[in-house]
């Protein structure tokens, strides 16, 4: 996959502290358009915290984040309608069917007539392979289907940028591989840029064009690059251990 094109995300010297506890500091990276960019690292290293900063739910204690050409600290409102987010739990609304969940952003942010909203929402569910489950409530579908439906909802407004928080968490290997395939298909079909937070090694190797690795003890970035290269060439013992599933 080519990573050519203007950066869609630019993070410079980003830090996050909670009281005296520094989660990470001086994190800088860029993400190109149509890239599948993975934020990885062990538990507690701040992957999800960094994603919350990127989607504007958390203000960095230092540094600067630019998404789609807008400064997230000042122009967050301009960015939010143009990004889609899939949270770790899926965060589907339990009182609505999958179709209604996908229709909700269309109802609020577009002037589409109701039949058009339903057709567009069914299209999104069809894209993630859930056309037949559209009328089911989230409580009646599997974990993998919930994640797919959450991706469909995140795609509702055709955002150019999609954030996925731990998409493979809690899924069996086959469902997880199916989700990886879906991410690559959606990137190919719709040209979406994906930011994926995960520590699932098989997913990282399958989908990532580039990645950054955070480390809890280093309080920041310890590696950046193409995962296959990092696996083969990195001299950092933590990076090596991560990619080769070794005990430090």
């Amino acid at each position: 996959m080519s990573t050519a094109g203007a950066p869609i995300i630019r993070a410079e010297g980003v830090a996050q502290r909670f009281g005296a506890n520094t989660i990470f500091r001086d994190v800088s990276f860029t993400v190109a358009q149509k890239e599948v960019f993975v934020i990885l690292g062990g538990s507690g290293c701040g992957k999800s915290t960094l994603m919350r900063q990127l989607i504007g739910l958390l203000e960095p204690t230092a540094g600067h984040i630019e998404v789609l050409g807008h400064d997230m600290s000042r122009e967050r409102r301009l960015v939010l309608p143009r990004i889609g987010v899939m949270f770790q739990s899926g965060a589907l609304f339990g009182s609505m069917s999958l179709l209604e969940n996908v229709m909700l952003p269309l109802e609020i942010f577009t002037n589409l007539p109701p039949p058009a909203r339903a057709v567009v929402a069914r299209t999104k569910l069809g894209l993630v392979g859930l056309a037949d489950a559209a009328d089911l409530p989230p409580a009646e579908v599997s974990g993998g289907m919930i994640k797919r439906a959450a991706i469909a909802r995140a795609l509702a407004l055709d955002p150019p940028l999609l954030f996925l928080d731990e998409p493979a968490a809690g899924l069996d290997p086959i469902t997880s591989a199916g989700l990886d395939k879906l991410i690559l298909e959606l990137r190919a079909a719709l040209g979406v840029t994906f930011i994926v937070v995960t520590h699932e090694l098989s997913s990282i190797m399958a989908i990532a064009d580039r990645c950054i690795m955070l480390d809890r003890d280093a309080h920041g970035l310890i590696a950046e690059g193409v995962p296959q290269q990092l696996k083969a060439e990195s001299k950092n013992p933590i990076v090596h251990a991560f990619f080769h599933r070794e005990v430090l």
Partner: protein, 379 residues
């Protein structure tokens, strides 16, 4: 989106528009501008109408002047094809669009003949729902009775610390509210009665009216209503959350009877604290009445004597007996609603509401039955 994003040379043609060209043997739909959600909103009805009008003849899409198309735009094109009945043929330059269109065609197949797209909602049949609730209530009653009978064999499952915690929550912590409400009810009832009775010189009989009302009816009834709103709702929410979190299933798989461990302590605690709450409410009510009577010039000794003469011990004990029955029913309804909580985040809220409503309705219905029984027994 896709590779057709903002094609050069089409920057000005941002507003979506549609032109229908009848070519005799075929119909061409010429789209221009941005086919995004806004453009689709503008063109939806017009496009489907044009596609329906072209039935029986080949449909052509000219997308060469489309500057941008996302999945909403592609959904419009595919919906128009489905309305027309045949796939449309693309004419003109449409780089990248054919791929997107093919994806959306796969995602949005034509509707099957006779298929109806409708959200699956459970049908609302009040009678069957009522019967199911009654059957569930009877089954729960049976389970509770059996659990109660088996307590000697399951004594370890009945944890005293749970019982004391519930008694503290439902009784001691409810007392300030009970005292405040009782005082205000006594005050208001006495004042509202005293004003008209003053015209007949019968203000002293306000003591009879208020004390008998409190002992026989208002004390147990209001305490039960507070128990429903404050405690039964908490029971339903606690047990309902445990149900949603599969904690009830965990208890069952460990061989621990959920009714013995969760329901019985709550029912016992509610039954134990209810007389205390009722007496508290009645005393506070009498205090409120005393304040009004003193304002009307009656000394405390006269008020006490009047109350002693008016109310019989049977009024007081009968009220307490009713209160204990109300407490058992209200607590049972709260626990039952918790155990029958469904799935999803709304379920706990639904159970809590049902516990409060069910508790209040059951209390009033039971009070009516007690009124009949007490009348027949001349109590």
């Amino acid at each position: 989106m896709v590779d057709v994003t903002e094609r050069p040379g089409h920057g000005e043609a941002r507003r979506a528009s549609l032109k229908r060209i009848d070519r005799g043997e075929s119909v061409a739909l010429v789209f221009t501008g941005r086919l995004d959600a806004d453009g689709v909103a503008r063109l939806w009805t017009q496009t489907l109408k044009a596609a329906a009008g072209a039935r029986g003849r080949p449909l052509l899409y000219d997308l060469s002047a489309v500057s941008f198309c996302d999945t909403a735009g592609a959904a419009l094109l595919v919906a128009a094809e489905n309305t027309h009945g045949e796939p449309a043929r693309l004419t003109g330059e449409a780089e990248g669009l054919d791929l997107l269109l093919e994806r959306v065609r796969q995602a949005l197949p034509p509707p099957r003949p006779g298929a109806r797209a409708s959200a699956r909602r459970p049908a609302f049949h009040p009678l069957s729902l009522g019967l199911a609730a009654a059957a569930g209530g009877i089954a729960f009653l049976g389970e509770t009775v059996v659990a109660g009978l088996l307590v000697p064999r399951r004594l370890r499952m009945l944890r005293p610390e749970d019982l004391f915690a519930v008694a503290d929550q439902a009784g001691v912590r409810a007392m300030p509210l009970i005292l405040l409400l009782g005082f205000l009810i006594g005050l208001i009832l006495a004042f509202q009665s005293a004003v008209p009775m003053q015209a007949f010189g019968a203000v002293i009989y306000v003591a009879n009216l208020v004390s008998i009302s409190l002992f026989r009816e208002l004390g147990p009834l209001l305490a039960a209503v507070i128990l429903s709103g404050r405690t039964a709702s908490a029971f339903a929410a606690e047990i309902g959350t445990m149900k949603v979190n599969e904690e009830i299933d965990a208890l069952s798989t460990m061989g621990i009877d959920p009714v013995t461990m969760l329901v019985l302590p709550r029912m016992i605690a509610a039954v134990l604290v209810m007389p205390m709450l009722t007496i508290g409410l009645e005393i506070a009510g009498l205090a409120g009445m005393t304040v009004v009577m003193e304002i009307f010039g009656f000394p405390l000794a006269a008020i006490v004597r009047q109350v002693q003469g008016a109310a019989r011990i049977g009024d007081f004990t009968g009220g307490l007996f009713k209160a204990v029955c109300f407490a058992a029913v209200v607590a049972a309804i709260g626990c039952n609603r918790g155990l029958t909580t469904g799935q999803g985040p709304r379920a706990v809220g639904v159970s809590t509401t049902a516990a409060v409503v069910g508790g209040i309705v059951a209390t009033i219905a039971l009070d009516g039955i007690f009124a009949l029984i007490f009348y027949r027994l001349n109590l």
